[in-house]
C-alpha cells in the first residue's frame, strides 16, 4: 500500500523544504507578517526617482512658441467671460455662445455637444462586463441639458487618426474666476495650436459644462465620441434646445471627432489662492479601481512644470500623517540606519532624511487610500475607461496672481506648460506603453513600482497557504489516527467512506461556500434598500445590516445548517481545523484576485484579514486550557474581530485621520454608496470576500469543539 511504502522513499528536496515550512507554520507566519508590515513601511525608502522610458517624448527640447500676443488675447477673453459671469441671472446660453465664438474666431472647428447626464446606477456585476452602450432614453426638458463646447484644431500634416484632448470644466450658468482662468489658459494654447505647423495630432478642446458635475459631462462626451450616433429622440430634443445657441455658420451641426485620443489633460484653476512664492500645481491621477495613467505622462508634466515654468508640484498627502510622532521616530531610526550603512560602505545609498520619509509616507498613504477607494479623484477618471491616459492639473495661484499685471504672467506659465506637454505627447509614435501603469507615488518625482510593492504584499499573504496546508495536514493526521483504530476494530481496510478519507474537507467547503453565497446576497441588498423612499442614511444602514442578518439565518435554514456541526460525523473535535483551513484558502484566493484588480484594496484588506484569519481559534478551547497565554490569545481574537468588522474599521481609520468629533453612523452608508455608484471593485471585495471571511472567523471562534 502507498501509505506503508511512503516513509521509506525519501521525498525530493523541494518537497522536503515544503514539508519543513509547513511544519514550522507558526514561526513562518509570524516572521512573514512582521516582514510584510516592515516592507510596507520601508516603501518610501525604496522608492526610485522617475525617469523617461519613452525616448520619443523629448520634453522641453523645443523652444516655447507661445508669445505675449496669445496671452493678451486670452486675457481679453477671460475679462469678457468674467464680466458675463458677474452679470445678473443669465439664460445659461451666453457663456457657451461666447466660448464657441472664441474658438471659432481662433480658426478651430466648433460644435456643441448637448447631453443629459445619466444618473449613476447600482451595478454589482458591472466590473466584468464591458461598458453598456444602450442607455435609457427619455424626454428631458431643455434646462436639464448640459452644453459642452468642442473645438478642434486640425493638425495640418496628419490624417486625423490621433488626437490630444484638453478639458476645461466651466459652469454654464455661473462662471467663476478660476474657471475663466482655466478657459483662458486653454484659449491661449488653442490660439497657438491653430497656427503652428508641427502638429501631428489634432487638438480637441472640450469646454465641459460642470453644471451637472464635471465627471458626468466628460463621461457623456466620451461615450458619444466612442459610439456611433444615429439621430435618435434625444438628438432631436437636443436640437430643439440648441436653437438659441446657434451663432452662425462657423458652428458645425454634427458631432465633431478627431482620431484615437492619445492623452488628455484636465486643466483646473482654483478660485482661492495661497501665500507662496510659486504657483502650486497639484496632479491628480487616480482613476476608477485604482488605475493610474502611464507614469511617463506624470513625468512629462512634473519635469516641465518644475524645470520649465517654475511651478511647485505636489501630489495629494494625508495631512494628519505629516505630524505624527511615531512616523518621525521611525524616520529617525531609518535615517540613522542609513548613516551606519554609509559608514560601512559609501556605495550603499540607503536611508533618507526624516522629513523626506514622513512626506513620502504621507503621500504614499494617500496614494494607497485613493487607489483603494476605487473612486476617481477627478474628471480624468472618465478617460481611463477608454484606456486613455489622463490627469487633472489643479493649479493654485499664488496670492497676487489675480492682479491684473500678474494675470498675464500666470496665463503665460500655465499655457506654456500645457503647450510643452502637448508637444511632447505630439511626438509620440504609439500610445503610452513604455513606462509603468502599476505604481504608487511617494512624491511627484518618486515612485514605487509594482515589482517592489508586491513584495510587501506577498510577504503578508504568504503565511495563508502555509497555514492552510499545515492545518489541513493536522486535521488529516489526527483523522488517520482515529481511522487506524477503526481499522483494527472493523478488520476491514476497504471501507470507502467519503467522511473519513481525503474528501472530508467537502463539509467545510460547503460551509464556506454557503457563507460566500450569503456574501453575494449582502452585495445585492443595497439595491433594494435604495428603493425605499425617504430613508435617512442611518435607517438605510440599519435596514441593510438587519436584512443581512436575516438573510444569513434564511440561507442557513435553506441550504443546510453551516452552524450546526451535529450532522458532521466523527472526530468533531478537529472539525474546526478543516474549516479554518478552507476559510484561509478562500481568503487567500480573494486577496490574490483583488491584488490583480486593485492592489491597494488588497494590501489594506490583507492587513486586516491576515491576522484575523491566522489567529482564529475556538474560544472554548482557549478557556478550557485556563492558562494566561490561552486567555491572551482569546482576548486578542476578540479584539481583532471587533476591529475587523467593516464599520468599526471604517470609523477607526476615519477617526485616526480626521478626529472622532463629527462622526455619525450614517457616514458609513454614504461611504458605501459612493463606492457602488462608482462601480468600485472594493465594494465587491468587502461584501463578497471580506465579510464572509469575517463571519467564518466568528464561526470558528464560537465553534463547539
Amino acid at each position: 500500500m502507498a501509505e506503508t511504502i511512503a516513509p521509506e522513499v525519501k521525498p525530493r528536496p523541494i518537497i522536503r523544504i515544503g514539508l519543513f515550512i509547513i511544519s514550522h507554520s507558526t514561526l513562518v507566519s509570524i516572521v512573514c507578517c512582521i516582514a510584510g508590515v516592515l516592507a510596507l513601511l520601508l516603501l518610501p525608502v525604496l522608492a526610485k526617482s522617475t525617469y523617461f522610458s519613452e525616448n520619443a517624448l523629448m520634453p522641453g527640447s523645443a523652444m516655447s512658441m507661445l508669445s505675449g500676443k496669445n496671452v493678451v488675447e486670452a486675457d481679453r477673453f477671460v475679462k469678457e467671460l468674467s464680466s458675463l459671469g458677474l452679470k445678473a441671472p443669465s439664460t445659461g446660453l451666453e457663456i457657451p455662445k461666447l466660448i464657441a465664438k472664441g474658438m471659432a474666431d481662433l480658426g478651430g472647428e466648433v460644435s456643441y455637444h448637448n447631453f443629459h447626464p445619466q444618473s449613476k446606477k447600482f451595478h454589482p456585476l458591472h466590473f466584468f462586463s464591458s461598458p453598456d452602450p444602450d442607455m435609457v432614453k427619455a424626454n428631458y426638458s431643455c434646462s436639464s441639458y448640459g452644453v459642452n463646447i468642442i473645438g478642434i484644431a486640425r493638425a495640418p500634416r496628419s490624417d486625423g487618426k490621433e488626437a490630444i484632448v484638453l478639458v476645461t470644466p466651466y459652469n454654464s450658468s455661473d462662471i467663476s474666476l478660476g474657471e475663466a482662468m482655466s478657459l483662458g489658459i486653454a484659449y491661449s494654447v488653442f490660439s497657438l495650436f491653430t497656427q503652428v505647423s508641427w502638429l501631428a495630432k489634432d487638438i480637441i478642446w472640450v469646454a465641459a459644462d460642470s453644471r451637472h458635475g464635471e465627471y458626468a459631462s466628460i463621461v457623456s462626451w466620451l461615450r458619444d465620441y466612442h459610439s456611433p450616433s444615429f439621430g435618435g429622440l434625444e438628438k432631436l430634443n437636443a436640437k430643439a434646445c440648441r436653437e438659441g445657441l446657434v451663432t452662425g455658420s462657423e458652428v458645425s451641426d454634427s458631432f465633431l471627432r478627431g482620431g484615437t485620443i492619445a492623452a488628455a489633460l484636465v486643466i483646473k484653476v482654483a478660485d482661492k489662492s495661497e501665500v507662496f512664492d510659486k504657483d502650486a500645481l497639484s496632479i491628480y491621477a487616480e482613476a476608477s479601481n485604482g488605475q493610474m495613467p502611464n507614469l511617463d505622462l506624470i513625468n512629462v508634466i512634473n519635469y516641465l512644470a518644475v524645470h520649465g515654468q517654475g511651478f511647485r508640484v505636489k501630489v495629494e498627502k494625508l495631512p494628519s500623517l505629516l505630524d505624527s510622532k511615531w512616523l518621525k521616530v521611525l524616520g529617525t531610526a531609518i535615517e540613522s540606519l542609513g548613516k551606519i550603512a554609509r559608514n560601512l560602505n559609501p556605495q550603499w545609498k540607503f536611508g533618507i532624511p526624516v522629513a523626506d520619509y514622513v512626506e513620502g509616507t504621507a503621500t504614499l498613504a494617500s496614494s494607497l487610500y485613493n487607489q483603494a477607494l476605487g473612486v476617481p479623484t477627478g474628471p480624468h477618471g472618465a478617460f481611463r475607461d477608454y484606456q486613455i491616459d489622463a490627469v487633472t492639473l489643479d493649479i493654485l495661484p499664488k496670492i497676487s496672481s489675480y492682479h491684473k499685471a500678474r494675470r498675464n504672467e500666470f496665463l503665460l506659465h500655465g499655457a506654456r506648460l500645457v503647450e510643452g506637454v502637448a508637444r511632447s505627447v505630439n511626438n509620440l509614435l504609439e500610445k503610452f506603453h513604455q513606462s509603468f501603469f502599476l505604481y504608487l507615488l511617494t512624491s511627484p518625482n518618486k515612485f514605487v513600482s509594482v515589482g517592489v510593492y508586491m513584495i510587501a504584499f506577498l510577504l503578508l499573504i504568504a503565511p495563508l497557504p502555509v497555514v492552510a496546508a499545515s492545518l489541513y495536514s493536522d486535521a488529516h493526521k489526527c483523522n488517520s489516527g482515529i481511522k487506524n483504530e477503526d481499522v483494527t476494530s472493523a478488520d476491514f481496510v476497504d471501507g470507502p467512506t467519503i467522511n473519513s478519507k481525503s474528501w472530508r474537507w467537502l463539509y467545510a467547503a460547503k460551509t464556506v461556500f454557503v457563507i460566500h453565497l450569503w456574501g453575494f446576497i449582502v452585495t445585492v441588498l443595497p439595491f433594494f434598500v435604495c428603493q425605499i423612499p425617504n430613508c435617512s442614511s442611518t435607517t438605510s444602514l440599519l435596514i441593510w445590516i438587519a436584512s443581512s442578518g436575516f438573510s444569513l439565518i434564511l440561507v442557513h435554514l435553506l441550504l443546510g445548517s453551516p452552524f450546526v456541526t451535529a450532522s458532521i460525523p466523527q472526530s468533531a473535535g478537529k472539525e474546526w481545523l478543516l474549516l479554518k483551513s478552507v476559510t484561509i484558502t478562500a481568503a487567500f484566493i480573494g486577496l490574490c484576485l483583488m491584488s490583480v484588480i486593485n492592489f491597494a484594496t488588497a494590501e489594506i484588506g490583507a492587513l486586516l484579514t491576515v491576522p484575523m484569519c491566522l489567529m482564529a481559534r475556538p474560544l472554548k478551547r482557549d478557556f478550557n486550557v485556563r492558562s494566561t497565554k490561552a486567555y491572551a490569545r482569546g482576548a486578542l481574537n476578540l479584539v481583532l474581530l471587533h476591529i475587523g468588522f467593516p464599520m468599526a474599521a471604517f470609523f477607526l481609520i476615519k477617526g485616526a485621520f480626521e478626529g472622532f468629533d463629527n462622526i455619525s453612523v450614517g457616514d458609513f452608508w454614504y461611504w458605501v454608496e459612493s463606492l457602488w455608484v462608482w462601480n468600485s471593485a472594493t465594494y465587491i471585495y468587502i461584501c463578497m470576500a471580506y465579510i464572509p471571511c469575517w463571519v467564518l472567523c466568528i464561526h470558528i471562534l464560537l465553534h463547539p469543539c
Binding site: 500500500m1 456585476l125 464591458s130 476491514f492 481496510v493 470507502p496 467547503a509 490583480v596 484588480i597
Partner: protein
C-alpha cells in the same frame, strides 16, 4: 427524492439564467466558454451565409459540422416576442445537459452492477453492499448538472453541451453493449469535434471486456486457487473472455454511419467546394490552429510566438503528444475502460487546439463516477482550490489585458498555464489513486482467501 429535487432545481436555475439577465456578463462572448468551434454566434452566421446561397464556411466564421448547422441553424433565426434571442437553442442546450446527466447516471448504475458482480465473484461482496458505498451515478449526475462550468457553458450559448451529450451517448452505448448506439455516438461526436475519435480504444474495451472491473489477473489467480470448484471457475472465467462479436458489429455499424455522415455532408456542401472544402475548413482549422485568438488553452500563445518555418513541426509535436499517450494508458488501464475514457478526454481537453470549460465540465462529471475508487485521492483540496482560483482569475486577467490595457497577453496566458498544470495534476493523481485502489483490492483478495 434528493436527486430529482436537485436535478429540477439545476434546470430551473439554467432557465432563469437564460431568461433573466441576458447579457449580464456577456457570457456568449467569453473566450472561456465559446471557442471558434463552439460559438453559437458563429453558427448563426454560418447559417445565414448558407441561407443566402453562400458557402457556410466563407470568410472563416463558421468551422463546425454541417450537421449542427442544419439542426441548430433554423432555431437560431426564430425569434419569440418578449423572450431573449436564440431562446430555442438555449432550450436545446438545457435538454442536452439534462440528457447528459441522465446518461451519466445510467452509466454509473451500470458500472455499479458490473462492479458488484465482479466483487461477488471475488468474495468481496461486502465492499459493495456496505452502506457507505456511494451511489456514484447519482453523485456524478448532480456534479455534472451543478458544476458552474456546465451551467455557464449551457447559458453562454456554446454548442459544447451537444458535443458532451454525444460523447456520453457513445460511452453509454458501449457500457450497455449496444454496438449500433455506440457506433452512432462515436461517429457523430468525432465528426462534430474530431478529438472524441480517440475514444475508440475505450469503446472497444468496453464492448469487448465489459465495464470497469478489478484487474483481470485477480480472477485468474482466484481461479487457480480454487481449481477444485468447477462452478466458480466457469462463472468467473466467463467475463475475462473478449467478445469479438460486438467489436466487429461496432466496426461495421461505425463504417455504415460514417459513410452516411460523409454522404449527407457531401450533399449539403456540394455546391460550395464539396467534401474536401468542408474537411479543410473544419478538421483542417482544428489541426492547424489557424485562429490565434486567446482561449484557456496553451496553443494559441505558442503558435502566436513560434517562427513560421517551425510551425508545422510543432503542430505535429503537439498533436502527436495526445496520440503518444494513448497506447501506454490503454495497456495500463485496460481493465477500466470508462476511467480510460475519462483520462483520454481530460488529456485531449488539455492539449486540444480550442479548449473551453465545457470540456472540463465533461471530464469532471466523468471523474465523479469513480468517487468510491478515488476516495483516497491526494491533493483533492489543493486541486479544488486551484480550479476555483484559476477560474476566477482568468476573467480578471482577461479584463486587465483587453479592457483596461494595463496588463498584457502574458497575464492571461499565465492563468492558462496554471489551468493546464492543475489539469495535469488532476489526471496524474486520479490515475495514481485508481492504481492504488487496484493494489488495495489485490491485497484484500490475498488476505481474504
Amino acid at each position: 427524492m434528493g436527486l430529482w429535487k436537485w436535478t429540477w432545481a439545476s434546470i430551473l436555475l439554467r432557465l432563469i439564467l437564460i431568461y433573466f439577465p441576458h447579457n449580464l456578463l456577456n457570457l456568449s462572448s467569453r473566450p472561456e466558454l465559446s471557442t471558434p468551434l463552439t460559438s453559437l454566434r458563429r453558427l448563426a452566421e454560418g447559417y445565414w451565409l448558407k441561407q443566402s446561397s453562400m458557402s457556410p464556411y466563407a470568410g472563416s466564421m463558421y468551422h463546425g459540422s454541417p450537421i449542427l448547422l442544419s439542426l441548430l441553424g433554423p432555431l437560431t433565426v426564430i425569434r419569440i416576442e418578449g423572450l431573449p434571442p436564440q431562446i430555442l437553442c438555449s432550450l436545446v442546450f438545457v435538454i442536452a445537459d439534462f440528457a447528459t446527466a441522465m446518461l451519466i447516471r445510467a452509466i454509473g448504475r451500470n458500472l455499479k452492477v458490473a462492479c458488484s458482480r465482479k466483487f461477488n465473484s471475488l468474495n468481496l461482496g461486502k465492499v459493495v453492499d456496505n452502506p457507505d458505498f456511494l451511489p456514484a451515478g447519482d453523485i456524478a449526475a448532480l456534479v455534472y448538472l451543478w458544476n458552474p462550468f456546465t451551467i455557464f457553458t449551457c447559458v453562454g450559448s456554446s454548442t459544447s453541451p451537444i458535443e458532451n451529450f454525444l460523447i456520453l451517448l457513445t460511452l453509454y452505448g458501449a457500457c450497455k453493449r449496444l454496438p449500433p448506439l455506440a457506433a452512432f455516438g462515436w461517429v457523430i461526436s468525432s465528426h462534430v469535434a474530431l478529438y472524441p475519435a480517440i475514444l475508440i480504444i475505450p469503446v472497444i474495451f468496453l464492448l469487448g471486456y465489459g465495464p470497469d472491473s478489478p484487474p483481470r489477473k485477480l480472477f485468474l489467480e482466484k481461479n487457480l486457487t480454487k481449481t477444485g470448484d468447477d462452478i466458480l471457475l466457469k462463472q468467473s472465467a466467463k467475463p475475462t473472455y473478449f467478445s469479438w462479436k460486438s467489436v466487429v458489429l461496432f466496426v461495421l455499424w461505425a463504417s455504415i454511419f460514417a459513410s452516411c455522415v460523409l454522404f449527407l455532408c457531401g450533399l449539403y456542401v456540394k455546391e460550395y467546394g464539396g467534401i474536401h472544402e468542408m474537411i479543410q475548413r473544419t478538421y483542417g482549422f482544428m489541426l492547424t490552429v489557424e485562429d490565434l485568438s486567446p482561449n484557456i488553452g496553451v496553443l494559441w500563445y505558442f503558435f502566436a510566438e513560434v517562427f513560421d518555418f517551425f510551425r508545422y513541426f510543432f503542430l505535429i509535436v503537439f498533436h502527436v503528444n495526445i496520440l503518444f499517450m494513448l497506447l501506454p494508458l490503454a495497456i495500463r488501464l485496460n481493465h477500466r475502460p470508462c476511467f480510460l475514457a475519462f483520462v483520454y478526454i481530460a488529456i485531449s481537453s488539455i492539449l486540444k487546439s480550442y479548449p473551453s470549460v465545457g470540456d472540463s465540465a465533461l471530464y469532471l462529471g466523468l471523474l465523479s463516477l469513480f468517487v468510491n475508487e478515488l476516495a483516497d485521492m491526494q491533493f483533492s483540496f489543493f486541486l479544488f482550490s486551484g480550479y476555483v482560483g484559476v477560474s476566477l482569475l482568468s476573467p480578471v486577467m482577461h479584463n486587465l489585458w483587453i479592457w483596461r490595457g494595463t496588463g498584457n497577453a502574458n497575464f492571461y496566458f499565465a492563468t492558462a498555464m496554471a489551468y493546464a498544470c492543475f489539469q495535469i495534476v488532476l489526471v496524474v493523481e486520479s490515475v495514481n489513486a485508481i492504481l492504488n485502489h487496484d493494489r488495495k483490492i489485490r491485497k484484500l483478495c490475498t488476505t481474504t482467501t
